[in-house]
């Protein structure tokens, strides 16, 4: 899986409007370590280090973060169809970002807004569902899902209002493009927004992998086995919320990754908790790198990344759904 991610990254660095041969890409990347004599021109190095490098790195970290968040939520909610949007965190972060654009402007205000909105959405979900945590069982999970639904609806309504109120000449297009999701604006600042929170969330989720897998069996059962259910659930939800907020803050709403990638990993490698979360993170990185590469190279103009992940994700999801139904019958 690590190899596949590496190949995807190399490919992403090579292809594009200004094509760079794969061996040149490898040499440019290794130059700082091995002190190679330049066989490439300045433009090629510039394209790789300044343009495609940050973008590929951001795609990798966001893909890994969203995939991990999805995988973790599926265990906590005991539902293979859960993903970050269930929590309402994506909506909350999107609303926060939109308000950032509306009140101040694009760029850092939308990032800060997304962070604040995402974490606020997570807080709201906890507050709404909090009373049910102690009783455990299915009630707790149902309450959390409903709370996520409520928060998501508020987010969607707020976004609609903001669009209505926005200046149609410059604010509205900015909002719409940001909501579509794109990695085109990747730079060091956005990397700083995305990398530390997603790394932290990733370490938490991968660290908790064993006890997290126990939650998928059932909360009461896990508690009797000696799993500290509340702690694991709180840490996981926090980590998943953080990763989602960071991803939205860095590149807008990119959906479906958290739903599709964990399933592809389960299909390909099984659900062994020893490797599942790590494979999911790597697969998420590879997936988003590839999808983003397609987004910026398939046609002359760039396809919005969020639209493409949905376009790819929905059919894959439909196939999974059919297969799930097939299993239930067999």
């Amino acid at each position: 899986m690590a190899a596949a991610t590496l190949v995807a990254a190399l490919l992403a660095l090579a292809v594009g409007r200004y094509a760079v041969p794969l061996d040149t890409v490898a040499r440019v990347l290794l130059a700082p370590i091995f002190d190679l004599t330049p066989t490439w021109n300045e433009t090629e190095a510039q394209v790789i280090w300044a343009v495609r490098g940050p973008r590929t790195l951001l795609a990798a970290i966001v893909g890994a973060g969203l995939a991990l968040a999805g995988a973790a939520l599926q265990s906590v909610f005991r539902n293979p169809l859960a993903d970050p949007q269930i929590l309402g965190v994506s909506s909350g972060a999107a609303l926060g970002g939109v308000f950032g654009i509306l009140l101040i402007g694009t760029g850092w205000p939308s990032m800060v807004g997304a962070f604040v909105g995402g974490l606020a959405a997570l807080g709201a979900v906890f507050w709404l569902a909090g009373g049910n945590h102690g009783s455990g069982g299915k009630g707790g999970t149902v309450m959390l899902v409903l709370a996520g639904l409520v928060v998501g609806a508020v987010g969607a309504a707020g976004i609609a209002l903001a669009k209505y109120a926005a200046d149609p000449d410059n604010q509205l297009p900015a909002i719409v493009f940001w909501l579509l999701g794109s990695l085109a604006a990747a730079d060091a600042a956005r990397l700083w927004v995305a990398v530390p929170p997603i790394l932290l969330a990733g370490v938490l989720i991968i660290g908790l992998r064993f006890h997290l897998s126990a939650l998928a069996v059932g909360e009461d059962d896990a508690r009797r086995l000696g799993v500290p259910v509340r702690t694991v659930r709180l840490l996981t939800l926090g980590a998943a919320g953080l990763a989602t907020a960071a991803a939205v803050a860095a590149c807008g709403v990119v959906g479906w990754v958290g739903l599709v990638v964990p399933h592809l990993v389960r299909l390909a490698f099984g659900a062994d908790h020893r490797w599942f979360f790590i494979s999911t993170a790597l697969a998420g990185a590879a997936y988003l790198i590839l999808v983003d590469t397609v987004a910026r190279t398939a046609v002359a103009a760039e396809i919005p990344l969020g639209a493409l992940t949905a376009l790819l994700g929905a059919p894959i999801f439909a196939v999974l759904l059919r297969r799930l139904r097939g299993d239930a019958h067999g």
Binding site: H211, S213, A214, V217, A222, R224, G226
Partner: protein, 257 residues
């Protein structure tokens, strides 16, 4: 003698009324206890109360140490192999940010082997039969190394061979010093394997004692509303209990089609 679990005046009720009350018994280390009673008499509820899942409405339970509960069935939301499922039994011993180590894997494999269920290690729990799942769940309880083992109808979905195998294993575990209790609908299980029987005849009518004393023909016939005979088979050391289904059929004709 150490008593890992003792219950005094235990009672539990749902809105509709008492499931059981005034229940007095103990699960002692080294003893195998069978819990018998008709459908819906509260056997599973009692196990839930004993394992701490439901607080008792009345009375008190004294518990020493951890316990492992084997539920009747389990439907995990995500795919698990048999081995994954057994490993969950080690959860208490694995710290929050760690995963099971080689010792845990060895224990899980050993527990599956003890149940003659090695072949289920790599099988997906989803596609297992009810009986195979029960074997895996019993193995999961074993690896927790709890001094108390509670099993909810561990033999319900098992063929006769595995019924004998599981009950003999429970007997062995009790002999090794564990306190083991299981629910069952087969009085033979109690007569052939158990040291004690808790008979839950009605919400306020129970008996707790040695199987021979508690499971007389009259008590069993009343319990199951069906003639039950206690017979000694040729060469057998003790007598067993047999339901006379034919008698019931003759007495009470099935409704006309």
């Amino acid at each position: 003698m150490v008593e890992p679990i003792s219950a005094r005046g235990l009672g539990y009720r749902y809105r509709q009324g008492w499931v059981f009350r005034h229940l007095d018994f103990r699960l002692a280390a080294g003893e195998l206890t069978a819990i018998l009673g008709p459908n819906g008499c509260g056997k599973s509820t009692l196990l839930g109360v004993l394992s701490g899942g439901r607080p008792p409405v009345e009375g008190e339970i004294c518990r020493q140490g951890t316990l492992a509960l084997v539920p009747q069935s389990l439907a995990p939301a995500l795919p698990f192999t048999g081995l994954d499922m057994v490993l969950l039994g080690r959860a208490r011993a694995v710290s929050l940010f760690a995963a099971p180590g080689p010792a845990d894997y060895a224990a899980a494999h050993a527990a599956l082997a003890r149940l003659e269920a090695d072949h289920l290690a790599e099988r997906s729990f989803d596609v297992m039969s009810g009986g195979e799942r029960q074997l895996v769940l019993i193995a999961r309880a074993l690896v927790s190394e709890s001094p108390v083992l509670l099993l909810d109808e561990p033999t319900a979905a098992l063929d006769w061979h595995y019924q004998a195998h599981v009950l003999a294993l429970l007997r062995q575990l009790a002999n090794a010093g564990l306190a083991v209790a299981f629910t069952t609908h087969a009085p033979q299980h109690a007569l052939d394997f158990a040291d004690r029987v808790l008979l839950m005849a009605a919400p306020e009518r129970q008996a707790f004692g040695a199987p021979e004393d508690v499971l007389g023909e009259d008590a069993l016939s009343a319990l199951y509303r069906l003639p039950v005979k206690r017979l000694r088979l040729p060469d057998a050391a003790a007598s067993t209990a047999i339901p006379v289904f034919r008698d019931y059929l003759d007495r009470k004709a099935p409704p006309a089609l």
